[in-house]
């Protein structure tokens, strides 16, 4: 298998290896983007500039590129297709109405997920009528996945176990590993210091490892 690059870390931040329990199958899956971070930043900015110019095709490309990742992020945090649809539409509405204000197009990724997160938080606040999402308990709803081969099975296992994690841990793992945001970008999206992201990641990895090891079919009990 082709070695998979770790998420891009800002200068001065240590290289973060992807943990073993995010298996090779998942790392190489369609959920993860593999690109040179500099090229990716250029492409993101290019897309943003074209949108700011008013090129209709650029908006289609933006949604083609990011529609599914945003939807899956919302799906992971809400555990519901309908809720993901609803959140995704609200996110894109905010994006279409706010993209002209994005000064640094290379920050598109963090900006998009920041909007997605705020939209999700708004929804959770309305849903649970609590001021802070950290008070929201885990939503137990295993995803129904039709795994047709080992890759899909591994993917399904991680997806299922992710869905069992509390929202805060699920979110930080999704952003950092599956969406490949750097520590700095995750901190931007979550609105917390990088140190808090690190501690959340540590806790989330521990929880996920424990969940996977507890599941017999995942092979984690060997």
């Amino acid at each position: 298998m082709v070695p998979y690059p770790a998420p891009a870390a800002p200068p001065g931040e240590p290289f973060q290896a992807i943990p073993d329990y995010l298996t090779d199958a998942v790392r190489g899956s369609k959920l993860i983007d593999i690109q040179d971070p500099v090229a990716r930043a250029h492409e993101d900015e290019w897309l943003v500039v074209r949108c700011q110019l008013g090129e209709r095709q650029a908006f289609d490309e933006l949604i083609e590129r990011w529609g599914a990742p945003i939807w899956r992020y919302a799906r992971r945090l809400t555990n519901s297709d309908d809720a993901a649809d609803d959140v995704s539409q609200n996110v894109w509405l905010r994006v279409l109405r706010g993209i002209h204000r994005l000064r640094d197009g290379s920050r598109l990724r963090a900006w998009l997920f920041g909007i997605a997160r705020r939209t999700l938080m708004d929804r959770l606040r309305e849903q649970y009528a609590v001021p802070n999402v950290t008070d929201v308990d885990v939503i137990e709803l295993p995803a129904a996945v039709d795994a047709s081969d080992d890759v899909e099975a591994d993917l399904a296992t991680v997806e299922r176990e992710l869905a069992r994690l509390p929202v805060v841990e699920r979110e930080v793992l999704t952003l950092f590993y599956l969406r490949e945001l750097s520590l700095g970008e995750v901190a931007d999206v979550l609105g917390v210091p990088a140190g808090t992201v690190k501690s959340r990641l540590f806790r989330a990895r521990k929880l996920l490892r424990r969940e996977i090891e507890r599941t017999p079919e995942s092979g984690g009990d060997s």
Binding site: V49, W71, S88
Partner: protein, 170 residues
């Protein structure tokens, strides 16, 4: 130019993709944007004309003053509404701002010419007051158009630079 992005690695559920497409179509509708620009210009002109008439007729009865005030209020409300829509709902992107700026310059130029023509033919002072208001609006429109062109040029330059950079790295 084709996109340098890889093909999407995962896709949206079909129903979500259709809903998003409809959302984008509605949000990026050009006629809708230009309609609000036209509304803004019309409301500004109406407010300017009524305001000019009101300012040049100090000896009117109270009820006429109230009527003028009411019309200026209505015009101002439409201006506020159109500005609100154009800044929060139907955002004007760089290309749209250039078109809107050209519309504004054309519209205000016609208004100024019309008011001056009316002033010359009738010899009354009110059209000149309206023309003065129109000149202020024309100046604002020209300033908006210049800024829109600058912004469009800056973004176009950046886009071309990025295209070269992406092409070089590809």
């Amino acid at each position: 130019m084709t996109t340098p992005y890889d093909a999407p690695r995962c896709t949206l559920p079909p129903a979500s993709a259709v809903a998003l497409k409809q959302l984008v179509d509605a949000e990026l509708s050009m006629p809708s944007r230009l309609g609000y620009v036209a509304l803004l210009l019309a409301a500004l002109t109406m407010t300017g004309v009524v305001g000019a008439l009101w300012a040049t007729e100090p000896t009117l009865p109270l009820r006429v003053h109230i009527a003028f005030g009411f019309m200026v209020g209505i015009g101002a409300a439409w201006v506020v509404f159109a500005v609100w829509v154009l800044t929060t709902r139907r955002i004007l992107l760089a290309r749209h701002r250039v078109i809107a700026g050209r519309m504004a310059v054309t519209f205000t130029s016609l208004f100024v010419c019309g008011a001056l023509g009316l002033g010359i033919t009738t010899g009354r002072p009110e059209p000149y007051t309206a023309a003065a208001v129109g000149v202020v609006m024309l100046g604002a429109a020209a300033w908006i158009l210049i800024r829109a062109h600058r912004s469009f040029g800056r973004l176009t330059e950046r886009r071309d630079l990025l295209e070269k950079e992406i092409g070089r790295r590809a």
